[in-house]
């Protein structure tokens, strides 16, 4: 079998959000992988990665939860595919810490009562599409180019950070989202807030923080002439999509910017049926925009 014909198979860690508030991310990830013949097998009985709250107050707990998940992932062959930016960042950070800190590794191994498995490569879906599958092959798989759609690619915080952990792209000037979007025919805009924080999990504790920060992001994307925003993180999506109407009310503005997950947009281009992209569960209705651009 030649390298180009090699089948791509991954262990898949969806994470908590993708089974609930970000279910369209899960549905569209599976849809894209099915069409592109990328194999995904869900890690059995995975647990929450601990996300930000765990490492915020208890680093050992955070590292142990991620190590437990990495250990469960060993049961499935292939690199570990992760779609959520927060899970991705936590799992990569854990591997990095445990490789470089023997004391912490021993504490974690005591906590999970098993050796910490560090061999599995953790990959974000963007990386799988752009690098493993390949941009040329992705461009060749396009059946409905996203011509005429102006997209603001929003990275947020955790796709490229922390800076000391080897990550999927440059921390200050990443282009991987734009690369993928250009490969499927969309136009990407240059804008100022692609790496700014949306307020993340303050949506629960202090939503006022989220309204202010996310308003600045929406405002910047609108000013740059974007039709929509592209994200790869369930929290960014929640803040920009679910809270958009509230933001419009509080700041007396009108954005109407649909917020797409990367896999929804790629799915649209490579021929995943629109009914399998979870478009109906988005709070800002994307259908008028997609119809206007003849993409449905």
């Amino acid at each position: 079998m030649t390298a180009s014909k090699k089948l791509l198979n991954y262990a898949y860690y969806p994470g908590c959000s993708l089974h609930a508030s970000a279910k369209e991310y899960d549905i569209s990830t599976r849809g894209v992988c099915k069409v592109l013949k990328i194999g995904l097998e869900e890690v059995p009985d995975w647990f929450c990665c601990g996300a930000t709250p765990a490492h915020n107050v208890d680093e050992l707990l955070s590292l142990s939860l991620c190590a437990k998940n990495l250990s469960l992932a060993e049961e499935v062959e292939g690199d570990l595919a992760v779609a959520c930016a927060a899970c991705f960042s936590r799992l990569k950070t854990t591997q990095h810490h445990l490789r470089n800190n023997d004391i912490q590794r021993k504490q974690v191994e005591t906590a999970i009562a098993a050796p910490a498995p560090l061999g599995k490569k953790v990959k974000h879906m963007l990386e799988i599409l752009a690098k493993d599958y390949g941009l040329d092959k992705l461009a060749a798989a396009v059946t409905r180019p996203l011509t005429g759609l102006k997209v603001a690619c929003y990275y947020g915080c955790l796709l490229t950070r922390p800076p000391d952990v080897p990550n999927l792209d440059c921390v200050e000037a990443p282009t991987i989202m734009e690369d993928v979007l250009n490969a499927v025919g969309a136009e990407t805009v240059a804008w100022s807030h692609r790496l700014e924080c949306c307020g993340a999990n303050f949506t629960l504790s202090r939503p006022g923080v989220v309204l202010q920060l996310s308003n600045a992001i929406l405002d910047s994307a609108k000013a740059a002439g974007a039709d929509c925003i592209l994200v790869a993180c369930p929290l960014c999506h929640g803040n920009l999509d679910i809270r958009q109407k509230e933001i419009e009310g509080v700041y007396n503005v009108s954005y109407g910017l649909p917020i797409f997950y990367i896999t929804q947009m790629v799915g649209l281009a490579v021929g995943v049926p629109a009914t399998r992209l979870g478009l109906e569960s988005m709070m800002v209705n994307p259908l008028p925009l997609l119809k206007e651009k003849n993409l449905l």
Binding site: D45, P53, A54, V57, K68, Q107, I112, C157, S205, I242
Partner: protein
């Protein structure tokens, strides 16, 4: 996030250098950090403030600290409790218990039905089958701490 802090990130570092860590721990700043890592990414002196913030929060957390910011602490506590009980996040419970415990019964009340009807919030949560393993991890960490073997 710096605009929400009474001590912005550079002043937090300066206060620590001057040994005034009690002022930092008593303030809101450590709880108004979203762990966006922008500071650690851009600091010209390579100060890893994001890691320092984690360490400060743990200090305050362990001491049941005199912080002015209880809502963020409450949200963290409920999030971690959910992991221990269910193995995964149960977003509906997270939001509902937060509202009750923070006394904000009306918070996001109109959002709930919209999210439920879109399947973005689930009424019932399927418990992870091996949730006992998570309890073991919590218990072993507590054990290590009792013996002084872990921070």
């Amino acid at each position: 996030m710096a605009s929400f802090m009474e001590h912005p990130p550079n002043r937090v570092v300066r206060l620590l250098q001057l040994g005034q860590w009690e002022r930092v721990l008593a303030g809101r700043s450590i709880w108004y950090c979203a762990s966006c890592e922008t500071c650690a990414t851009r600091c010209p002196n390579k100060v890893n403030l994001a890691a320092i913030m984690d360490a400060l929060r743990k200090l305050s957390w362990d001491a049941d600290g005199p912080s002015k910011e209880s809502f963020v602490q409450l949200a963290n506590r409920l999030f971690i409790d959910n992991i221990r009980t269910y193995g995964r996040q149960y977003e509906l419970r997270l939001g509902a218990v937060f509202n009750v415990k923070s006394g904000q019964f009306m918070k996001d009340l109109l959002l709930g039905p919209k999210l439920l009807s879109r399947g973005k919030l689930k009424m019932f949560h399927s418990k992870n089958k091996n949730v006992g393993e998570i309890e073991n991890i919590f218990a072993r960490i507590e054990e290590m701490r009792k013996k002084g073997e872990a921070p």
